[in-house]
């Protein structure tokens, strides 16, 4: 997320912020967080001889939400998949011509999304009309807010992360909807964005903080900022990342390992 400024007043400018104010990376921070997590895992999971498959902790588990794919496709889930696909398209190409056609075509190249495609194609006309209306409104906002991400900010979408702990007995996993910025060379240089097509949820902040921890463990440097973008109204919630946020999140992970969920923040 470089020095050249984006157009003022938009989400890109908020994400970029003051380049000179970005914190230096404490070279011991990531190692310390990892060691702390390893201790927590050793105390809570490794001693349990029943566990054979890895214990997976993801944003949903952290936010006490139902696991992904736990139920049938619903209208909100379908809208989320379509919006996520359009978001990737806008960031990568800068354009969307026909939101529903483009989003369905984007989903259809991935066999894992066949059920969503089938759900959308089988929607009765009134429900389909409502979905198209919501999708077109979201596409308009996506084009406005994300259609001109500078390519030298190195935008990459749907970036998978997996952090193994205790020799792989525990996996901290996530997918970042958008990552901006060069790898760190000493200062925090990366910004993470999660895109939500639905309303705000109390778990959104938990997920953002968890994303910040994942990136810190993966890359050795914390992101300077984590954000949630709401395609419903184009709003943005942003957290600045500091040691306190990351330390608190390690505690959240420990609680998620113990009880499968974390308390509402």
């Amino acid at each position: 997320v470089g020095a050249a400024a984006p157009p003022p007043g938009g989400v890109l400018e908020r994400l970029r912020g003051d380049v000179d104010a970005r914190p230096r990376v404490d070279p011991n921070l990531a190692g310390g967080l990892r060691a702390w997590l390893e201790d927590e895992v050793a105390a809570r999971v490794v001693a349990d001889p029943v566990e054979v498959d890895p214990v997976v902790v993801d944003g949903r588990r952290m936010a006490a939400e139902a696991p992904h794919g736990a139920g049938a496709v619903t209208a909100p889930l379908a809208l989320g998949a379509l919006v996520a696909t359009l978001f990737r398209q806008v960031v990568t190409t800068g354009a969307v011509d026909e939101p529903l056609v483009d989003a369905l075509a984007g989903l259809e190249v991935d066999d894992r999304r066949a059920e969503v495609c089938r759900y959308v194609r089988d929607l009765p006309a009134p429900a389909c009309t409502a979905l198209v209306r919501e999708l077109e409104a979201a596409a308009t906002r996506l084009r406005h807010d994300w259609g001109r991400v500078p390519t030298w900010w190195l935008p990459r979408t749907d970036d998978a992360v997996v952090v193994p702990l205790a020799g792989g007995r525990v996996l901290l996993t996530g997918r970042f909807d958008l990552v901006l910025g060069d790898p760190s060379t000493g200062a925090a240089s990366v910004c993470l964005v999660e895109v939500r097509s639905g309303a705000r949820r109390s778990g959104d902040r938990v997920r953002r903080r968890f994303a910040a921890l994942l990136e810190t463990l993966r890359s050795g440097a914390p992101p300077f900022r984590v954000a949630t973008y709401y395609s419903r109204d184009g709003s943005l919630e942003v957290d600045e990342v500091d040691d306190l946020l990351l330390n608190d999140t390690v505690g959240d992970v420990a609680r998620a390992l113990s009880v499968g969920q974390v308390p509402d923040p």
Binding site: V25, P27, N28, A30, G31, R34, T85, R88, Q89, V91, T92, T93, D97, V101, D102, A103, L104, A105, G106, L107, E108, V109, D110, D111, T151, W152, L154, P155, R156, T157, D158, D159, A160, V161, V162, V163, P164, G168, L171, D182, P183, S184, T185, G186, L217, R218, S219, G220, A221
Partner: protein, 287 residues
């Protein structure tokens, strides 16, 4: 068939590069450019040819069709990957490497392009070749040309993410002209009529002290089979041309987990990989 004695102890484990060292690109580039250390010689290469033949003899029926052992097959035989016999299909995940490598080559060539721009160009070029009728029916360009704009955008998005990770992973100016990004896979056909072919794949090839060094980009995180998976492309190089300088090490890098493993290419590791190839050959179906 060489009846070599069993090694007295387990081979040394791969060396992990600290996941907390910054900048990461410097640490990974250091791992590639480190001095070569001991390397296997031509005699060892000839022994390995016999060992691979011995490993498959008695397990594979002659004339049962050609079987290809690659890193995926080694993972399957170690149980680190769910078995799948579904035929290959182009998808964003299977196309990202080819498009991503083309993009990284363009970025490293210094034409000022970013990964996003370079991937867009790579996609356009593949489609143009296909539309001229110059691409084969199974080529990625033929598949891309068949996709509507939304599908093509998803393929590009996936390739951008992959390419950006690799582009940011190394200090390319230190590698200079020694670095070869992508390039064709290396193949070796086992003698003896077993119909066995080994496939070696690396994302970046460079050299140190006159010996090749390979960088392999993995998905997810290192697993039990990663060591032999990493040694497979080195084994293929040694078998393919025993007189050529042998690779001195293979560096595995998993961008999703930030993990790096450095595996020295030694005789014991290559023997272990040859035996893993023999086991895998009995698992994979004829191609």
């Amino acid at each position: 068939v060489i009846d070599a004695p069993a090694p007295p102890a387990a081979p040394p484990p791969p060396v992990a590069v600290s996941p907390t060292v910054l900048p990461r690109a410097r640490a990974l580039t250091d791992a590639l450019l480190a001095p070569a250390g001991p390397v296997v010689d031509e005699q060892c290469a000839h022994e390995l040819r016999s060992r691979v033949a011995a490993a498959v003899a008695g397990h594979l029926p002659r004339g049962a069709g050609r079987r290809t052992v690659n890193a995926y097959a080694l993972r399957r035989v170690r149980g680190s990957h769910p078995p799948s016999d579904s035929p290959f299909r182009w998808a964003p995940r299977t196309a990202r490497r080819a498009l991503g490598l083309a993009a990284v080559r363009a970025c490293v060539a210094g034409d000022g392009r970013t990964p996003v721009e370079a991937v867009r160009r790579a996609v356009d070029e593949e489609v143009a070749v296909a539309e001229r009728g110059a691409a084969g029916p199974r080529a990625v360009g033929t598949w891309l040309a068949s996709l509507p704009a939304g599908g093509r955008a998803m393929v590009a998005a996936e390739a951008v993410t992959w390419a950006t990770a690799l582009f940011g992973a190394l200090e390319w100016d230190r590698l200079g002209l020694r670095a070869r990004i992508g390039g064709p896979d290396r193949w070796w056909d086992a003698p003896g009529g077993w119909g066995l072919t080994l496939q070696g794949r690396a994302e970046v090839r460079t050299e140190s002290d006159g010996h090749p060094v390979l960088l392999c980009v993995g998905n997810g995180r290192p697993v039990d089979s990663s060591r032999v998976e990493l040694l497979l492309p080195a084994l293929v190089e040694v078998l393919h041309d025993p007189r050529a300088p042998a690779p001195s090490r293979v560096v595995g890098w998993w961008p999703a987990s930030g993990r790096t493993l450095v595996v020295p290419v030694d005789a014991r590791g290559l023997r272990e990989t040859a035996e893993a190839v023999g086991r895998a050959a009995t698992v994979v179906g004829p191609s």
